[in-house]
């Protein structure tokens, strides 16, 4: 479970990027975080994962505060960033071993999970190559595998479908649904509304640093008295907020 409590964040004094945000992501759901460019999606994710300091408020991962107990909170999630920057000089396997050591995954489990995931993502034959030889999509896949390797309860993914081929994208979506179905949490940001429509149990829409909607997609349609697609409803919501 991820809980954001009255969080405010500003990079420059007097100019809030996130303003008094509160959000609760329950266990057992795939939660989509939607919003236009520059709305504050990545900043929110950066705060949840401890990359950016929180000016006011707090964030809890399974009840552990990221500000007060960062180690306990960090060991409870796995994070895939929007740009797959990994150590280019390591091989994919070396990177996975590093992550395995950091999260204390035993060798047998590493072998099993890596083999299975690498085959599913079409990376099996590339793991012994240097990461610098990987394409953008392959780096993205490696980061996803590295998160799934230690199988955290909470998955946090920032634009995870970017750069993935259709087959991998499908596999990832299935894995996200399976993970949530097992009582875990999947929180991800996306621009691709079709993805959100297909797999999200709940969504939040953020604009100009404020949450303007939280609920199911049906609830969004009801709120707007709309029977159209999520895309239409999303545009109405954002447009309404601008007005």
């Amino acid at each position: 479970m991820i809980e954001i409590k009255e969080v405010t964040q500003s990079y420059v004094k007097g100019k809030n990027v996130i303003e008094n945000m509160s959000l609760k992501v329950e266990d057992g759901v795939v939660f989509g975080f939607l919003g236009p460019n520059g709305a504050g999606k990545t900043t929110t994710i950066d705060m949840i994962t401890g990359i950016v300091k929180i000016d006011q408020g707090d964030i809890f991962i399974d009840g552990k505060s990221i500000t007060k107990y960062p180690m306990a909170a960090k060991s409870r999630f796995g994070f895939v960033p929007d740009s797959p920057d990994v150590f280019e000089k390591l091989t994919g396997l070396e990177y996975l071993n590093f992550i395995g050591d950091v999260y204390g995954v035993d060798a047998k489990t590493r072998l099993e999970r890596t083999s299975k995931l690498a085959k599913e993502f079409g990376m099996y034959e590339n793991l012994k190559d240097r990461i610098q030889s990987y394409s953008h999509g392959m780096k993205q896949k490696l980061l996803i595998i590295s998160v799934l390797l230690h199988n955290p309860k909470n998955w946090i993914l920032d634009e995870p479908m970017t750069g993935l081929d259709p087959q991998t994208s499908h596999t990832l979506k299935e894995l996200m649904k399976q993970h949530a179905a097992q009582g875990n949490t999947v929180f991800f940001s996306t621009h691709v509304l079709e993805v959100a429509e297909k797999i999200c149990d709940k969504i939040a829409i953020i604009d100009c640093g404020k949450i303007i909607f939280v609920g199911t997609i049906d609830e969004l349609h009801q709120k707007l008295n709309s029977t159209e697609s999520l895309e239409e409803s999303f545009l109405k919501m954002i447009g309404g907020n601008e007005e």
Binding site: S83, D85, R110, E125
Partner: protein
Amino acid sequence: MNSLTSIIFKNEKRRERISREGVSGNLLSLLSFAIVFGSLAAIMIYVSVDITKRLEDIGQTYAFVNIMLLVNFGILFLGSIFQSLNVLYFSKDLKILLRMPIKSRDIVNAKILKMIVSEYEMEVIMLAIPMIVYGIMTNAGYQFYLYIPMILLILPIIPISVTSILLAVIMRFTNKIKNKSRVMYITIIIAYLLLNLVLSSVSGQGSILALFQNWDMKADNALATEIANQFKLLIPIMNSLLHYQTWEGVRSFILYLVASGISYVLAITTISSIYLKGAIGTTVNGNKKMAREKAELRIEDFKERPYQKAYLLKEYTVTRRSPVFFMQCIVFPFAFAFGALAIALAVVAFARGFEFDIWEEIKKTLGDSILAGAFLAVTQVFYMINFSSIIAVSKEKRWAVLSKCIPIKLSRQLHMKLWIGKLSSFISSLAVVIFYYLCTRSIWNAIFLVVASFGLNVFGEKIKILIDLRNPKIDWDNEYTMLKQNTNVMYELFYTMLVIAVVLLFGVAVPNVTIYFIVMIFMVAIINGIINQYIYRNDKKIFENLY
């Protein structure tokens, strides 16, 4: 072409990340930069005055000009191998530029110009300031000062053009190797060998040893003449400064200008004709088609390690596989320290041939604790050229940001990032300790020196990484540019100068060498304890600018 050049320049200048503190933060950065630059300039002024006076005393005043030109030329040639390789072939922007309808000639031109201009900052400190000091001390005419900026502008052209041509030719063949780190290592080694051949064929013997053997110490300004004889390539530019009042100066300058122009045009023409074949290879994702059995994952591929060991191994592997980092962080500090030790021992042996005991002379000239302070200061000089910790965070590029998400306390990660710097500075300080032991023959004092220098270095490593974390440079195009244009290095130099001043002054203040070392070790232990506490308690704040 002009627009491409201007975009490359603007991109470089605007890469600095926006400060969170806004205008006041930028002003503070500007002020601290001015203080650091001012301090370095002050040091260069002091050194230049001292050397000029000493050369005047022995009737070799002109040699100052030749020595400074030689030093700058040497730095430019050695540095331009790394720079050319990284800027021309391993720069991130190539992936964009090579896919655009831009002629390779324009790309080469813009990149070579960028390299030339990037040398000017270093030249202002290393060349312009010493020359102005020399001019003032020798009452040089106004023409001398007119030559300085002109020489500053054209001096890097020949070194960069020549090394870039050599690298382009080598890269034409070596880029076929799939392993890009190997390509860099092989190219650098071949380039150094070829450069040595080219320079010795056009520049006399080019030997410092021959210089000392042939130098007639009794003749006025014979050292300047001998430097010119040994390094003929520099004769025109040396003459333009030494004969600034006559037509000989003008003629020599024009000669060097023409040579620079020719080398530039030659570089652009030659490199553009073979550039694409070399550059495209470096940007292609060289996936090896491995044999199935090699690709097969086995349980042996997954070794469990304690996370500390895994972290240290990761630090070492990333450094070892990045030739520029490996050279600057491990090879150069080590080679420089032990090279200096070898030269120092050779000089001692050489002096013994004339029945002159340098050991005794050093001990007589410097009191015991001042001698200890001087040796401790020398360890700091070697330590100054070790860039391991000043780039410990920045070298990881944007992964450095991800390191904040893993469940390892930030203060612990900070300490683990320092081990390469600690180890390499310890090894380089051993060279100084060996010389100190041979000089004093006191095993206890040598042990004290090891402990004191190691303690100081460990403290310095922490200061360096704090500097890096205050303004991390994680968005870089290539390894060399990140190192060379990293303004954090200036702060490191400033810090080291401060430490050197403290250890020397302390040596003057405490005459007894044993007390000197004991107090020094005690102080170093205390400041290390204080900084450890600071890091432990403020790690989140320390890592705040990394995002």
